[in-house]
Symmetry: C2
Subunit: 156 residues, 2 copies
C-alpha cells in the first residue's frame, strides 16, 4: 500500500479482502483468509492499515425499506432563490428523516435530494408541508423512481 498526499493505492490482496467485506461485512476474517491463502492475522493488519488510511469508511447493516412499508423512492430537484441560502436549506432538510441524500449540484437546481416515502401521498405531504415551506426554496421538480435497477458500490 502506497500513500500519496491524497490518493491511496491498494494492492490486489487488499482489494480481494475488501471485495468480500463489501459483500458481507460480517463475513469471518478466517474464512476470507482461507480463501485467499494468507493468515487471519495478516488480514487484520491490512484492515487496520486501510482503516487508518481512511479507505474504509465503516460498515453498515442494510435494512430493506420496502419490507418496512417504504415503497416510494423519489428524487427532488430544488430551486433556491439565492444559492447562498443553501446552508440554511440543508439544515432544514437534515431534519426530515425521509431525506436520505442531499447533493449541492451544478445544473438546473441548487440541490438534488433522494428521499424515501411510504407512498405517493406521503411524498406529496412531505413536499407540500416540509420541503416547499423551507425558506429560500422557490420551486421543486420531482422524479419518482418506479424501479431501482442498479444499486452497488464501486468495483475494486
Amino acid at each position: 500500500m502506497k500513500i500519496n498526499s491524497l490518493q491511496i493505492e491498494i494492492d490486489g490482496i487488499d482489494k480481494e479482502i475488501l471485495r468480500y467485506l463489501m459483500e458481507d461485512a460480517r463475513k469471518p476474517i478466517l474464512q476470507i483468509a482461507a480463501k485467499i491463502g494468507i493468515s487471519g492475522a495478516a488480514i487484520h493488519q491490512r484492515l487496520r492499515k486501510l482503516e487508518q488510511a481512511g479507505v474504509i469508511a465503516g460498515s453498515k447493516f442494510i435494512v430493506n425499506t420496502k419490507v418496512l412499508g417504504y415503497s416510494t423512492m423519489a428524487f427532488v430537484g430544488i430551486y433556491l432563490e439565492k444559492a447562498s441560502s443553501n446552508f440554511e436549506a440543508v439544515k432544514e432538510l437534515r431534519k426530515i428523516p425521509e431525506v436520505l441524500e442531499c447533493h449541492y449540484t451544478t445544473g438546473n437546481w441548487s440541490i438534488l435530494i433522494k428521499m424515501i416515502c411510504r407512498d405517493n401521498e406521503h411524498l406529496m405531504q412531505l413536499l407540500n408541508k416540509k420541503i416547499q415551506p423551507i425558506n429560500g426554496v422557490s420551486r421543486t421538480e420531482t422524479f419518482i423512481s418506479l424501479e431501482q435497477q442498479i444499486e452497488r458500490q464501486i468495483q475494486l
Copy 2:
C-alpha cells in the same frame, strides 16, 4: 414483531438492535446486548427473525471512494427514444462499473443514474464513449454533485 401480508412491524428492541448494526455492522452482539439490557441469545433470535422476514437485506463494508481517487459524483438523466428500450439500455449501463445506481423514473427522463468518476474528464469520457453510444439513448443531462451534504439510511 407482527407480520402482516406485506408489511412488517418491528418493536423498539428490534429497532435498537438495528440502529447499532446499521451504524457498525461488525459491532459485537454481546456489546449491544449489554447496552440494551438483554442477553446475546435473545438478540440472535431476533436477528434471525428479522432476517427471515426480509427486514435485513445484508451488511456492507463502505469504502471511501474519494480516498481511492474518485472525486466526482454525478447524476445523469437519460432520454430514451422509446421507453421500451429501457431494458436493453440498463443492460448496457450495468456493464459500466462507474454506474452505481440506475432508476427508471417518471418525469423528463426515462432513466436517472448516479455515477462516480475520477474527475470531470473521466466523467466526460464515460458520457461520450460509453453512455451516449448506447442504443436508444437520445440525449443526456448531467448534474455534478459538488458536495454530498447528507448521506444516510432510513431512521428507525
